[in-house]
């Protein structure tokens, strides 16, 4: 095993263990952990089977095979960011609905209080 393989194996193991630990403590929800776990597993696979990178490079026509690795990393990070945007959008939507409901309820309450006084 080469040095670079050991380093990437260690790094990806730390990421994987970290993600699992966060889920265990309830600080990261399972559905958002999937992409992270996939990412670290893919890094692990590529660290153990080094020739996979060369194969990927040939397959995609990338001249310098190690940059295929960066492409892969970039792909996963983009995927994770996109997932964040989707989650933020849905949070914004529920936030809007909740604010509206609260405002409507507050108004209704004030109205009923006023009615009760007179």
């Amino acid at each position: 095993m080469e040095k670079v393989q050991i380093v990437s194996l260690i790094v990806s193991s730390i990421v994987l263990l970290g993600v699992v630990e966060l889920v265990r403590r309830g600080r990261l929800r399972e559905n958002y952990s999937i992409l992270w776990i996939c990412t670290s597993l893919v890094i692990m696979v590529f660290a153990v089977f080094r020739h996979l990178i060369d194969w990927l490079g040939r397959l995609t026509g990338i001249y310098y095979p190690p940059s295929a690795f960066f492409l892969l990393a970039f792909f996963f990070l983009t995927l994770i960011s996109l997932q964040f945007s989707v989650v933020i959008s849905s949070l914004t939507k529920s936030n809007k609905t909740l604010s509206q409901e609260i405002a409507l309820l507050k108004q209704r309450m004030e109205e009923l209080e006023k009615k009760g006084k007179t």
Binding site: N95, K96, A103, L104, Q107
Partner: protein, 239 residues
């Protein structure tokens, strides 16, 4: 006596002018109820509205023009109003046109009536980018809907319950409803028409279309119209 018509006014930091506008509406469109949606104002807007006796819905955070308006539609639906009129709190819209806007809706000739400032009545100046945007998206909407759209940005509208229900759905944009909403309405099978109205230039405060926003507006409108056309209609008319 409760009316069957509700006038919805979204307001964000409109202290100083809002009370006068409410009095003006009461004088020129008697018989309609009024509700003000305070979109997280940091000034005394809500207090000034309360003093006029009109109900005020205070949003805990600033949702934006469309989000505030939508709160008003939800209110109108839950209180059983048959017709609603939306107008701005900045004095741009002349209340004496309210009956004229309501007339085709009440007669069943249209589901929503928009007051257009570009149909010959009065003079209205707009910034260059904005004017271009309006023309461009107005023509796209005209082609899609099959009638001439002169003022796609009009925030002076009268509508029936169907349209209120449609506007209360999640597809309604929270920032500024525009030509995209007209196309959405058309695809939902709801009929819109325009009638000429006079509009005034803003008296106080800053317009919601200033700074870099025109650029965002053009981009957003293109995207919104595109996805609207790609989307299947899911709105079911409640006949």
């Amino acid at each position: 006596m409760r009316s069957d018509t509700l006038i919805i006014i979204p307001a964000h930091n409109e202290a100083g002018g809002i009370a006068r506008i409410i009095e003006d509406i009461r004088a020129k469109a008697p018989g309609a109820d009024i509700v003000v949606v305070d979109d997280g104002s940091t000034d005394s807007t809500a207090l000034e509205v309360s003093e006029t006796g009109a109900p005020v819905i205070r949003l805990p955070v600033n949702l934006g023009y469309g989000g505030a308006l939508q709160t008003g539609f939800k209110y109108a639906i839950s209180r059983g109003y048959l017709y609603a009129v939306q107008m701005d709190a900045d004095g741009q819209h002349e209340p004496s046109y309210i009956p004229k806007l309501l007339e085709p809706v009440r007669a069943g000739a249209a589901d929503v009536v928009l007051g257009s400032r570009f149909m010959g009545l009065g003079e209205y100046r707009s910034t260059f980018v904005r004017g271009m945007g309006m023309k461009l998206f107005g023509s796209i909407a005209s082609v899609t809907i099959g009638r001439r759209v002169t003022d796609p940005t009009s925030g002076f509208q009268a509508m029936n319950r169907e349209v209120m229900r449609f506007y209360a759905s999640d597809l309604y944009p929270v920032d500024f409803p525009d030509a995209d909403v007209l196309i959405m309405l058309h695809r939902a099978g709801l009929k819109s028409v325009e009638v000429p109205v006079e509009m005034y230039q803003r008296v106080e405060g800053v317009s919601m279309h200033s700074g870099l926003k025109p650029l965002y507006y053009v981009f957003k409108m293109f995207l919104s119209i595109l996805v609207t056309l790609l989307r299947k209609n899911t709105f079911i008319k409640d006949v």
